[in-house]
């Protein structure tokens, strides 16, 4: 054993990265790489690859076109989730429309050809890829996991180094089970102290993005730390890490701890018995060492966070539920002023409006951000014994089949239905354009992660918020503060 005192303290990220470096591809000097940039490129071992029927279908097709084969089929998994039908009674392989069905079929055939495990409609393990991968225990601490989906950073909540890749990178992983990757800088974001009652992980994420901007994480691997994060249950950590890419952090994670191990133990793909003990011993070495240096540090006092709702078309454009819509002159930078003007115009809002008076057309609960069991419990606590406001369309799409069944076993589906919510089948659903027919030209308060122009449908005005805020808004018919609701648990 080397004398550990002589080893410089390392971050979680540094440990996981270096354990996956097969080869350094640049000549690395003390100052950086040979060409003067600080980024070095390495060939990395990839432990898990997830495919889905949109970008994964492209990777599988281009793998075949290139005349290549899957190198490690046991480490590759296909989730059918992005364009599935969410209609009750849907059949296996049923897409949201004819083309979607064809894409699913193509992906199923190609996955079978490559010998991959598929989680298809009808399988009790089916659901949104970032919801089912933790459920299945395919997100082990200190492993690398990639998927052709930017929200793959979600799995960082389990101490998994997960990130989104393009379809060509997907082909590269299929063919080699490796990736060529530029090493990012490190950032630690520490949330300290207790959250105020009624404030959730989603509010933490939106508050943070409002502070550091939608571009604040470019080039960084972000570690969430601090007492607030340590106290967050795993499902809250999943929500927080999910939003990493919304400030352009390709990687976002929480180092593993007792909650992580408790969550993972006995799940389907988690090692058992002596293998578990060996893995656990390794995982316990991964958290950042005392004194480890980060390239950037951000500290947030959690007591300052209010429930958030976005008013604009970027996740950075959020405000406390008791706040007002800002005006362009509130910002110094001309580019940002223009961004604010464009967003207000698209959202059809005026500066100075009180946020809690903005009426809604639709309340949507779903997506890889906030459609896990705890999210549905929080929303149901607000909805129980109440009715959705007249003229509000209210929709709940559980994140996975497992979540849906557990919610039904707890009677939550009845709470949602009694309140006037539709209760639909699991999938990515209306998060991205899948609501084209029903959400077009409407104002939606949504538990999803992106409020981009036209994201949920043509001219759809999306406002991001937590499950509690969405549920409260559904009842009152305008953006509402769930903390003013008594709950009948």
């Amino acid at each position: 054993m080397p004398d550990t005192k002589t080893i410089a303290p390392r971050t979680f990220f540094e440990k996981v990265w270096s354990d996956h470096v097969i080869a350094e591809l640049d000549e690395v000097t003390a100052e950086g790489t040979a060409d003067g940039t600080t980024q070095s490129t390495a060939l990395l071992q990839i432990d898990r690859l997830f495919l889905h029927e949109v970008t994964g279908g492209v990777s599988l097709r281009e793998l075949k076109q290139a005349g290549r084969a899957t190198s490690s089929p046991g480490q590759v998994f296909t989730a059918i989730d992005h364009v599935v039908s969410i209609r009750p009674g849907r059949g296996p392989g049923e897409g949201r429309n004819e083309m979607a069905t064809a894409m699913i079929e193509e992906t199923l055939v190609a996955s079978a050809r490559e010998g991959l495990q598929v989680f298809n409609i009808g399988d009790p393990r089916q659901g949104i890829v970032h919801v089912i991968s933790p459920e299945l225990g395919l997100t082990l601490p200190g492993t690398t996991l990639v998927c052709g989906d930017s929200h793959t950073c979600t799995v960082g909540a389990l101490g998994t180094l997960g990130w989104g890749v393009g379809s060509s990178e997907g082909v590269h992983v299929l063919a080699t089970q490796t990736l060529r990757q530029a090493k990012p800088k490190t950032m630690r974001i520490s949330f300290e102290g207790a959250l105020r009652p009624g404030v959730s992980a989603k509010d933490m994420a939106l508050h943070l993005i409002g502070l550091i901007g939608a571009n604040g994480g470019i080039g960084y691997a972000v570690e969430f730390a601090g007492s607030t994060v340590r106290s967050l249950p795993i499902e809250g950590r999943l929500t927080l890490c999910n939003m990493g890419i919304e400030f352009s952090a390709r990687y976002a994670f929480v180092a593993p701890d007792e909650l992580t191990y408790e969550f993972l133990k006995d799940r389907e793909y988690v090692p058992k018995g002596a293998a578990w003990d060996a893995a656990l011993a390794y995982w316990c070495t991964l958290p950042s060492d005392e004194g480890a240096q980060f390239d950037r540090e951000v500290k947030i006092d959690s007591a300052t966070i209010a429930p958030q709702v976005t008013w604009g078309t970027s996740p950075q454009q959020s405000v406390g539920i008791d706040g007002t819509v800002p005006q362009p002159d509130d910002y110094d930078d001309p580019g940002t002023q223009e961004l604010v003007r464009t967003a207000l115009d698209y959202q059809r809002l005026s500066p100075g409006m009180r946020v809690d008076q903005i009426p809604i057309d639709v309340a949507y609960i779903g997506s890889c951000t906030n459609a896990r069991l705890s999210d549905l419990h929080v929303a149901a606590d607000v909805l129980r014994g109440r009715k959705v406001a007249a003229n509000v369309l209210a929709i709940c799409v559980p994140g996975s089949t497992q979540v849906k069944r557990a919610a039904e076993a707890a009677g939550l589906d009845q709470v949602f239905r009694d309140a006037g919510f539709e209760w639909l089948e699991p999938g990515c659903a209306m998060c991205a354009s899948g609501g084209a027919d029903r959400l077009a030209d409407r104002r939606v308060i949504s538990t999803t992660n992106r409020n981009f122009e036209n994201r949920q449908g043509p001219k759809t005005r999306t406002h991001l918020a937590s499950p509690a805020t969405v549920a409260a808004s559904a009842i009152l018919g305008h953006f509402a503060d769930a903390r003013t609701f008594s709950t009948h648990a």
Binding site: D19, I22, D26, A34, D35, G36, T37, T41, L43, Q45, D47, V54, T55, G57, V58, A66, S72, G74, Q75, V83, M99, A100, M103, E106, G115, G142, T143, S150, G164, G166, S167, S168, V171, H172, A175, T176, R180, A182, P184, A214, N215, I218, I245, S248, Y269, P271, A275, A278, A279, S314, G335, L339, T342, A432, S433, A436, R450, F452, E453, N454
Partner: protein, 209 residues
């Protein structure tokens, strides 16, 4: 893979922050089983009016910008999703380069694999290039040279930029990334022999689970 060395072309200033991948190509255009025709989706929500006719206000619908091969943009171009359809839609529409102060990381890498060069320059420089282009009604051309990593403005001033060395080599020479990696197959095998001992749980075989 398509290579990129140097171009001299029309540039379209689209000076907006956070032009996300949903704007570059909306999700509905990803419902397809062929990667051809992605150009139909490029900036679709901005390019067309509600009735489907071209929006005459949109810069890429106006001459000479309808022949542009370069986009000038503000911070965080290509933020959002991992869809490789974004750089592919740009390339299929004739674009070869985007110049901006920063890019979404996933989009940035995807560009290099699709013959599109993302160039990082400070916002003041991008604004200056945009003003020169606009004051010539779009007729003044920009030169983007990857080999020498420099942009030449219409007035002759040059601006140096940097690109990650491995991605630059790949794009300059049109190399196949998978072929490059497979040259390291011995290193990969050696790594895995050791890694399997250290982290056996990371290796799953079909049939073993």
């Amino acid at each position: 893979m398509e290579s990129f060395t140097r171009i001299r072309a029309t540039a379209a200033p689209m000076m907006r922050i956070n032009i996300d991948t949903d704007q570059i190509i909306p999700t509905r255009f990803l419902l397809r089983t062929s990667e051809e025709g992605l150009n139909e989706g490029l900036f679709a929500n901005w390019r067309s009016l509600a009735d489907g006719t071209p929006n005459p206000e949109f810069i890429l619908n106006r001459a000479p910008y309808n022949k542009a091969e370069i986009i000038l943009a503000d911070r965080n171009f290509g933020c959002g999703s991992s869809r490789e359809a974004a750089p592919r839609a740009l390339r299929q529409s004739g674009f070869r380069a985007v110049i901006a102060p920063s890019f979404g990381d996933i989009f940035f890498g995807n560009c290099f694999r699709n013959g599109v060069l993302p160039v990082i320059l400070p916002i003041d420089t991008v604004n200056r290039l945009g003003q020169q282009v606009a004051s010539s009604d779009g007729n003044a051309l920009l030169e983007v040279d990857l080999e020498h990593e420099r942009v030449t403005a219409p007035d002759g001033l040059t601006f140096a930029f940097a690109t990650p060395k491995k991605l630059r080599d790949m794009l300059l020479n049109g190399l196949d990334e998978i072929d490059l990696t497979m040259q390291l197959n011995d290193s990969i095998a050696r790594f895995r022999a050791t890694d399997r001992e250290k982290r056996p749980w990371a290796y799953l075989e079909r049939g073993s689970y």
